[in-house]
């Protein structure tokens, strides 16, 4: 997960059906959700929270060239990615997932729209969806942050120091670092549990249990 998610608009899911007849008993097994990105991005990761979707196919609409007029083309990135090992049972039904660039079949570069095709073949569930969709773009190769000029002019110290019986500074600094790290760990993991005390300053007079 690199940086902040990019701006995108998630459209409401569209159910797929055959023919025009719509009845109350109709339970779709496929939903299509389109996500329109603010501007073309190179996608690093798509993360989301599942809600009873069994299989997910991800397609992206890529802009072929660099300009706004270049033609667009659909490409499939992930085909039938399994979110629930058994569509009839709860495993994976409400889990958080991430799909990374490395798992995708094509390079998701210059993407304007992401299409999620969700499938849930089981009749056990009333509905299914994908929630909390976040798209992260790939970090740029050339850093946008400028290195201050004084940093780049520092030269490493090459000559050995005259210690005069003092301990080696590298050894000292590494052991100090270790000790510092240890104290950090002790501080961060400091709970009453580690010391074994359950009272507050010797007092453990309790009236009622709290409901919050």
């Amino acid at each position: 997960m690199t940086g902040n998610p990019v701006d995108c608009t998630v459209k409401s899911p569209v159910a797929l059906k055959i023919g025009d007849a719509v009845s109350d008993l109709f339970c779709p097994g496929v939903y299509i959700t389109d996500i329109v990105l603010g501007e073309p991005e190179n996608i690093q990761e798509i993360s989301f929270k599942n809600y009873y979707t069994a299989y997910l196919t991800v397609c992206v609409l890529k802009r072929e060239g660099g300009t706004a007029d270049s033609p667009v083309k659909w490409a499939t990135c992930v085909r039938n990615h399994c979110l629930m090992a058994n569509p009839h049972t709860e495993g994976g039904s409400q889990d958080y997932f991430s799909i990374y660039r490395q798992q995708m079949l094509t390079e998701p570069d210059n993407v304007t729209t992401v299409r999620l095709i969700q499938r849930q073949p089981s009749s056990v569930w009333l509905s299914f969806a994908i929630e909390d969709i976040k798209i992260y773009s790939a970090a740029h190769e050339d850093s946008e942050r400028d290195v201050p000029s004084w940093l780049s002019t520092i030269t490493p110290v090459e000559e050995p120091l005259d210690l005069n019986g003092l301990p080696d500074p590298h050894a000292v600094s590494s052991s100090i670092q270790q000790m510092w790290a240890l104290t950090e760990v002790m501080q961060s993991s400091q709970t009453t549990a580690s010391v074994g005390r359950f009272d507050v300053d010797g007092c453990y007079d309790i009236n009622l249990l709290s409901y919050t």
């Binding site: 709860e90 039904s93 889990d95 007079d205």
Partner: protein
């Protein structure tokens, strides 16, 4: 998959963090420092030589065992976006059910507190402390007035909660279909069927020898038993946790069981552990808790009435009272779907610096809780070691039997698996019992919640718990429950009421656990 390498690094970092600062860590450092004086340690290859020394003197094995133990209790790794509560229990409706169940328990405890005018916790006056110290080893002799106290809940109350679990996204509109639930548990969790169980438990198969079957009186010991004991002694000598766990799958010999279980659970009984136990004992002397009365009542009602366990009454008090004060147990709430109850001292509700956990270990005992400890009394007579073994077994296994979660070893999965196994392999029996309003789960639930403690004879129970430790899972509890029904199926087909069904299954003390499991898993035609 992309993230396997980074997941492993995270796991390693977590375990290193947990082991840093432990007694083992300081002992290892001390050993490494002291070995520098030895002649075989050369300066040029100091790292290698120290490592070799630690390996030869058994310290590397101790570290391996400690790492192995940490792996057992490592909280599940969650997605970076997932909040902690989701990592403990991913299904929202189960979290909600657990929270409302906990609220009910808290309300019940609070009302008991106000009705009886007994405080949840109070400091004992000095005289009372002295008195308790003097009769520490015979707390059972004292008969405090417990008539006003009642258990906070019994397993059957918990069963009603599980039956009423509801997934809001579950489609019930179809009525009775192939997929609908004609059992009591309305949840679709993934549970294993017999072919999958056969693959998961190959050491229980007909072609594999094991204790509980092949150590029977008429089987010559040379065929299996002697060799198995010899290997067991070797495992104990090697002090290898992982090997002990694998060995236990075929059963532990009675003479080695205590050592093997301590090895599997990595109970080292260091001076540090003894000091910790003494600290807990001091905490019992200083403070009197309301839950102590619940423990007394539970022991009096269950273990003291049991032919096998009544002799251990005093020890049970010692273990359970200390257990309630042990804040180290709070660690297991990082992977338990439950939340420890909270309170505020001196009435300062809402002010976080006065917030405390009640009881200190966060676990409110229910009717039958003491039966988790009772069988262990046969294995360990030093209270400190007995305590450590029980605590480790609780934070690895027993907690799953009384909290609502979707874990495969959780009580919900066990109930569902029990029902499914019966429905698939004994459909006529299941249908018959349902017709006479004797739902099988209503009878089997109390066995499973206690992992059969108090229902089987002790030697058989210990053989079952050998396998729970060996396979690191409670699944066999559900399989055994189904196997018991299969064994008594003929009688059960004849009964016509819930009461008679319960009578058929009232006495399990003559059952032999391993043959039942073996026949059910490997000898049934499927």
């Amino acid at each position: 998959m992309m993230n396997e390498g980074s997941e492993l690094s995270v796991t390693i970092a977590q375990i290193v963090q947990r082991l840093k600062g432990t007694h083992l860590h300081s002992q290892l450092e001390k050993q490494a420092k002291e070995c520098l004086h030895r002649p075989e340690i050369r300066l040029e290859s100091i790292k290698e030589d120290v490592r070799k020394f630690l390996r030869a003197t058994g310290w590397e094995r101790k570290l391996q065992n400690a790492v192995y133990r940490e792996l057992h209790i490592l909280p599940p790794s969650g997605h970076p976006e997932a909040p902690l509560e989701h990592t403990k229990e991913p299904l929202a409706y189960m979290r909600k059910a657990q929270a409302s169940w906990e609220k009910r328990i808290l309300k019940s405890l609070n009302s008991m507190c106000t009705e009886l005018g007994v405080p949840l916790a109070r400091k004992r006056p000095v005289l009372e402390q002295k008195e308790l110290t003097s009769k520490w080893n015979e707390m059972g002799a004292d008969e405090p007035d417990l008539s006003k106290f009642r258990p906070v809940y019994a397993p059957k109350d918990f069963l009603e909660v599980l039956i009423n679990l509801k997934n809001p996204n579950h489609d019930h509109s179809d009525g009775l279909t192939a997929r609908s639930h004609w059992g009591l548990i309305p949840i679709s969790l993934s549970v294993r069927d017999v072919p999958q169980l056969r693959e998961a438990y190959p050491e229980l198969s007909l072609s594999c020898s094991q204790l509980g079957i092949d150590d029977h009186a008429h089987v010559p010991p040379d065929l299996f038993e002697s060799e198995h004991i010899r290997i067991g002694k070797k495992v104990v000598d090697e002090q290898d946790s992982a090997a002990a766990q694998q060995y236990s799958r075929q059963g532990s010999p009675t003479g080695l069981r205590a050592q093997l279980w301590a090895l599997i659970l990595n109970i080292t009984n260091d001076p540090e552990d003894v000091a910790h136990y003494e600290q807990l004992k001091a905490a019992v002397i200083h403070h009197d808790l309301l839950v102590d009365n619940l423990i007394y009542k539970d022991v009096k009602l269950t273990a003291s009435n049991d032919d096998y366990y009544f002799v251990f009454e005093d020890v049970l008090y010692q273990v359970l009272l200390c257990f309630s004060r042990d804040t180290a147990v709070l660690e297991h709430f990082s992977y338990n779907s439950a939340t420890p109850p909270k309170s505020y001292i001196q009435g300062k509700t809402g002010e976080e610096e006065f917030a405390v956990v009640y009881p200190p270990n966060g676990v409110i005992p229910f009717h039958g809780f003491s039966m988790y400890v009772a069988p262990l009394c046969f294995l360990y007579n030093e209270p400190c070691k007995l305590y450590s073994v029980f605590r480790e077994m609780y934070v690895r296994y027993f907690f799953r039997l009384h909290s609502i979660s979707s874990s495969p070893s959780g009580i919900v999965s066990l109930c569902l698996q029990f029902e499914r196994l019966l429905q698939i392999h004994l459909p006529q029996l299941f249908f018959h019992l349902q017709e006479i309003m004797a739902q099988p789960l209503r009878i089997a639930f109390k066995w499973m919640v206690r992992a059969f403690s108090g229902y089987l004879s002790t030697d058989q129970l210990l053989l079952l718990w050998d396998r729970i430790l060996g396979y690191d899972s409670l699944e066999l509890v559900a399989v055994l429950a189904a196997a018991v029904f299969a064994f008594r199926a003929e009688n059960l087909m004849e009964v016509t009421s819930l009461a008679s069904a319960e009578a058929v299954l009232a006495d399990l003390s003559t059952l032999k656990v391993m043959p039942l499991l073996q026949i059910f898993l490997f000898a049934n035609v499927i």
